[in-house]
Amino acid sequence: MATRDQKRKEKKKKKRDQRKAESKKKETLSRPPKLRSVPSPHQELLTRQAPVAWDSEPVEDVAVFDEAVRDTLDSDSAKQVQSIREAFDLALAGRGDQSRLAVDEIPRSSPLSQWKVFLLGLIAWLKDEADEAERAWKRLDHSRRPSRIAISMWNARRSDSLTAKVPVADPQGEADRAAPWHTRVDDPLRQSAKRLHRVWYDRAAIRIAESGTKTRESIPDSLISPEKLEWIVEFAKKYRDFEPELVASLEQASLHRAAGQSYIDVFAIARDELPGPVHDPNNTLLNYVYELRYRDGIYSPRVSEAADCSLKQYLEVELPKNEALSKPVRNALASELHLREATEELNSGSGSPILGFLGPEYDKKLVRSHFKAATAAYPANRAAHQAYLRWIEDELEDRWTTAAQKKPLKAEMAKLMQAWSKGRPDDKEPRLWLLDYFIDAEKMDQAKPHVEWLANARVNDPKVRIARWRWTLLDAFRLCRRKAWLDQAAERLEESVPIWPAWLNQQWLPYLRASISLRAGDSGAYVKQRAAICDTADRKHLGVADSCMALAAAQLMRVPAADLKPLRAPVDAFVKNLSGVSKQELFDAAPFFWDLHRTDMLYPAYRMHGSKLASELNERLDADVQFVFKNIDDPQLHAAMYWISEHSIWTNSHDLRMPQYWTSELAHKTPAFAAVWANRGRKLYWLSSLDPDRDLTDFLRNSAPRQVDPFLSSWFAILADEMDERFAADDRRGGFFF
């Protein structure tokens, strides 16, 4: 008899076993159903895919599928057989017209003409033109293979004809001769029709793919589980022959789904088991993206060693050898990848919205090498040149960049512009820059082709249209380098007057003329000319405007430093005591500075005070918003805002922070406000802060034709196009690449 202890132990064991059984049941219920193994295509499909000659089959017919027999034919017949094979390939590739052409030369008298007729029917059948197919096929000799193929193809169209018990036709019988051509079905033909029906009409592979992919993943909320992956691999093996595109599509979908989740092991299986796409057959590029995206399971900062390894392998080893892509495509891909790397490295540094002030300085050497590689790999990649240019401009504008560092940067810019112009000869931007550069360097011969191109270019760009005027004026400045050339300088200056742009103020012209006197050493004449200017000028052109115009003209006319000193002094005094300068004076000087910017005529001393004056005016306007609203349609206010937007007053390289006097509402009503948003925004690396007002580009474009000022009419359209291009490039990168 069991003791109390024994009974207690038995009871406990029973409860324990019960609990185990229940938990095993729960586990089984929560586990998704196991994927059934992929059904194979019908066994006969695998074993009967090859043509087999029968005993009395004509040798010409056998030659179509047996090369050894083809070699025994005479050369004409062998050539015709070759054409028939080519025609088959073309027809099955969907190139019906070329297929027809391939067999065009086969004469009616040739025993191989049956194949020509069959191919005409095949081309029609592949286009679902049944009547056309029948017209060809009913003419075929029923005892030969082309006709037999046609009969199986015809009967494959309907599943009811696959099982119909039709007696084998007797070719000699009257009744049989009268029967429709496609009813001459024997058992082998019926089997052939069944096989074709299953592959061509039934599309078993599609049904199997749909049901297999619908099963629940074993990992909850995952995009693809290891079991599903295994199933896809099995499916691919079995159906690749008949459904290569469907299989490829499922494999690519599996790869992307594996790459879209943080299960590293699942991704590794997919990467190693599935073939990659044409451009990335080993999934090396995908691996690079994945390493950046999911290493350590979090959005990680850039520069993962493994990611860099993959990218290096792809760019240096695999892509150059990938003959499935044309060379231009390979180069374009390399260029875009380097451009992305440069941009992402820039974004990873200080100022990055993610890392902010916590981030390290970005690696300038790396950025430079990527920009160089991007422009070298595909010189026609305008976006690469533009991004590289923006970076150099930022470096030059950076207050921490020393004068010694600026020299090589300028040389780098010159090289970039020349490469850009060579890679994209129809782009105006590098030509405009090179024009100034070569004139400045007194390389007039190298400048001339660009002047001619710009003068003849049918481009609706004010900077292009004034190219000849700028060339003439810049030449006048150049001629001021030597006193012996001053007469020529004066002549060139006067040559610029008749071609002075109508939309550009000529208030500066008297200062330029006066500066030639100062350059010549005739200070008496200079003083008289300056006095005459002040007498004729209205109040607007005194004070800051007068001093800056005088300094600008003198400096560009190469007045020596000693003579420049008294002209610098008043400007320096204004800058030293900005609070003492009235808002009106700054406001009145704005149109002159805007003119210099929009004609790229900034004088060297401008960089010492230009942004300070602009910044001061910006603050004054910000403090007196009513002044702005009162003058909202005043072209002088617009000129002031355009001038301010030329400087990095409203931005760092990532965010646009517009002043108080600018509102989105105003920008949607007044084109000038939209223009300043675009003018500043296009200089940002990231455009995410501009997204809420993205529609301003359309508003700007639509406002352009209504502008009376021809400069603004072109400029608004150019800004709109440039912003759209920048947004498109930003969207392509999807913000984050990782």
């Binding site: 090859a50 390939d89 190139r95 006709s147 599609i206 793919a209 595109e245 992305r340 392509r732």
Partner: protein, 100 residues
């Protein structure tokens, strides 16, 4: 982000991605014959734009990289386009249909 498969010029022309220049041109000529500009202007424009897009190496490169950033396709997106396409049959399979 939208799946670029839906705007893929190769898909619009009914070709596999990366089809060679010869195949693309042949297909283009075949399609515009079926959809001439005077009879089917919109379709012609679509075909012509897709054809031009297939030729520009930068556009091809950008499309490739955009596909890396795109959301993974659903299974039905991967399968659906193939329902209207023909499966592949080899010449030998076709010839084997005439076996006795």
């Amino acid at each position: 982000m939208p799946n670029p498969l839906n705007t893929d010029p190769f898909a619009i022309l009914g070709l596999a991605e990366g089809a060679d220049e010869k195949a693309v041109r042949a297909r283009y000529l075949e399609l515009i014959k079926k959809h001439p500009p005077d009879r089917d202007a919109e379709r012609f424009r679509e075909i012509h734009t897709a054809y031009e897009a297939t030729k520009d190496p930068l556009a091809i490169a950008r499309r490739i990289l955009a596909s890396l950033d795109a959301d993974p396709p659903s299974w039905s997106e991967a399968i659906e386009p193939h329902k209207s396409k023909r499966p592949s049959i080899s010449v030998d399979f076709l010839l084997s249909l005439g076996n006795r």
